[in-house]
């Protein structure tokens, strides 16, 4: 099981605390999160299935947002952090 941590903004759409999810890829992990918390749908990913520009996903502390993205495999992964990035002004 992978422990998912969401930042405080995202908790208004999703789980109020850390959530355990079993998945073999980031895409499937997000599918499962969205199944449990439908209001998360399209907040993290757009209609094409890609992460939104200012959503950052860290797998065991490594940022995969700008590299392998949702296709990242989660074999052996223990934790995922989903945060919104620095932007705005």
């Amino acid at each position: 099981m992978i422990e998912v941590h969401l930042d405080s903004w995202l908790r208004s759409f999703g789980p109020p605390s850390n959530e355990s999810v079993e998945a073999d890829s980031v895409a499937h992990l997000l599918d499962e999160l969205e199944r449990r918390y439908p209001r998360l749908r399209f907040k993290l990913r757009d209609e094409t299935g890609q992460l939104r520009k200012y959503v950052r996903v860290f797998v065991d502390g490594a940022d995969i947002s700008g590299t392998t993205g949702v296709a990242t495999l989660l074999s052996g992964a223990r934790s995922i952090d989903i945060l919104h990035s620095i932007a705005g002004g």
């Binding site: 903004w9 759409f13 895409a27 499937h28 997000l30 599918d31 969205e34 199944r35 439908p38 209001r39 749908r41 399209f42 907040k43 993290l44 757009d46 209609e47 094409t48 299935g49 890609q50 939104r52 200012y54 959503v55 919104h84 990035s85 932007a87 705005g88």
Partner: protein, 377 residues
């Protein structure tokens, strides 16, 4: 919700929605409910068929676009269904598996929400980027794409404007619910006589100074269009290429802005109490702010074909930007004129431009201004 006597100015800003409440005399104003803090709100509009209903096109930097609705004049809001790109199902309809066929591109921003014809009490239209038009017939429970626009055969040739590939203008003929008009940047205007099944480009006479061809059929960067309240065949248009009027359902356009010199701008309004008049905010075409060094609104009288400046140069000194949804008029007599600026000023004239007041509140940069609940709304 019952109608009340308040006049409301609905303001969409770079950092949320604001409702400014005024009395029926348009003397006292109070900045009231605020919502969607931090989001770019491109348009806020009331549905005159359902008093109390207000819709907002909310574009959040992080979480993407969403349509929000209030049923109590902006006190509380709820996200309703938001359409997806063509071929995808309505956002709120169901949670589909990841294996569903996904579109190749996403909606970038929601631009304009237009309540439907009075005879179609549950219809709304929505314009979005990239060049998308949607319709709901159940007040936003679900949406259908207008495929004749969304999959238009010329779409691969359509270009965006600086603000994106936005479908920002949606107009309905009050005499015929099947006659629609849309405006897109940088594509131009189109008319449908059959409820959106087919469309005809309507840009004849509108110059494109940014293209090699001076008067192409499409490719115009239309910024805003309004209909004359007394004559639904007459339209006033602020284009990248100047200010225009049409008296034949947009079949042909005549440039009216040349006497002003630089007739660039983004917004235009035409109040119902004074048909034949249109109000433009002329901007410097390069700087995109009021080039005269002060706030100014130009009044066009169609019958006499005359322009009139409404403000003294001493009134509000500065350089102000005004976006395409930045000017609104109410339905009272004399009409009120409301202008929001990109630097957060909200100017109000309760008497067709004779006197002006600056609301004593600095808003975030203003994208849109609309008026709700005036006596004839």
């Amino acid at each position: 919700m019952a109608k009340d006597s308040k006049l409301r100015v609905l303001v969409g800003t770079r950092k949320g929605t604001y409702i400014v409440e005024g009395d029926a005399r348009r003397k006292q104003w109070k900045v009231g409910p605020r919502a969607h803090a931090g989001s770019d709100v491109y348009h806020v509009v009331a549905d005159p068929r359902h008093p109390g209903d207000v819709y907002a096109a909310v574009n959040n930097t992080f979480w993407g676009p969403a349509i929000q609705r209030s049923r109590d004049w902006g006190k509380t809001w709820k996200e309703i269904a938001t359409p997806l790109t063509p071929n995808a199902k309505a956002r709120k309809a169901q949670v589909a598996a990841a294996t569903e066929s996904l579109p190749k591109w996403a909606i970038n921003n929601l631009w304009h929400i237009e309540p439907g014809h009075p005879s179609e009490s549950k219809t709304l239209y929505l314009g979005a980027d990239p060049h998308l038009l949607f319709r709901t017939t159940d007040l936003g429970e679900s949406w259908e794409g207008i495929e004749s626009i969304n999959h238009h055969p010329d779409k691969p040739k359509w270009s965006p404007g600086a603000g994106g590939a936005c479908l920002h203008t949606i107009l309905l003929d009050p005499r015929d619910a099947r006659r629609l008009y849309v405006g897109m940047s940088a594509v131009g205007t189109f008319r449908s006589e059959d409820g959106g099944a087919t469309w005809t480009p309507t840009n004849k006479g509108v110059e494109t100074p940014f293209l090699p061809e001076k008067f192409p059929e499409t490719g115009q960067c239309v910024h805003d269009v309004v209909a004359d309240a007394a004559d639904p065949d007459t339209f006033y248009r602020q284009d990248h290429g100047g200010m225009y009027v049409s008296h034949d359902r947009m079949d042909t356009w005549v440039r009216i802005g040349k006497p002003l010199g630089d007739d660039f701008g983004f917004t235009v309004g035409s109040p119902s109490a004074t048909p034949g008049k249109a109000y433009f905010v002329r901007l410097d075409g390069e700087a995109r702010v009021t080039g005269e060094g002060h706030f100014q609104v130009h009044e066009w009288t169609d019958k006499t074909r005359k322009w009139r400046k409404l403000l003294s140069p001493k009134a509000f000194v500065g350089h102000y930007g005004v976006q395409r949804e930045g000017l609104a008029t109410d339905h009272m007599d004399p009409p009120g004129i409301y202008v929001g600026t990109t630097t957060g000023q909200l100017f109000i004239s309760p008497d067709a431009g004779k006197t002006w007041k600056l609301i004593p509140f600095d808003f975030p940069g203003i994208h849109s201004v609309e008026v709700a609940n005036s006596p004839r709304a």
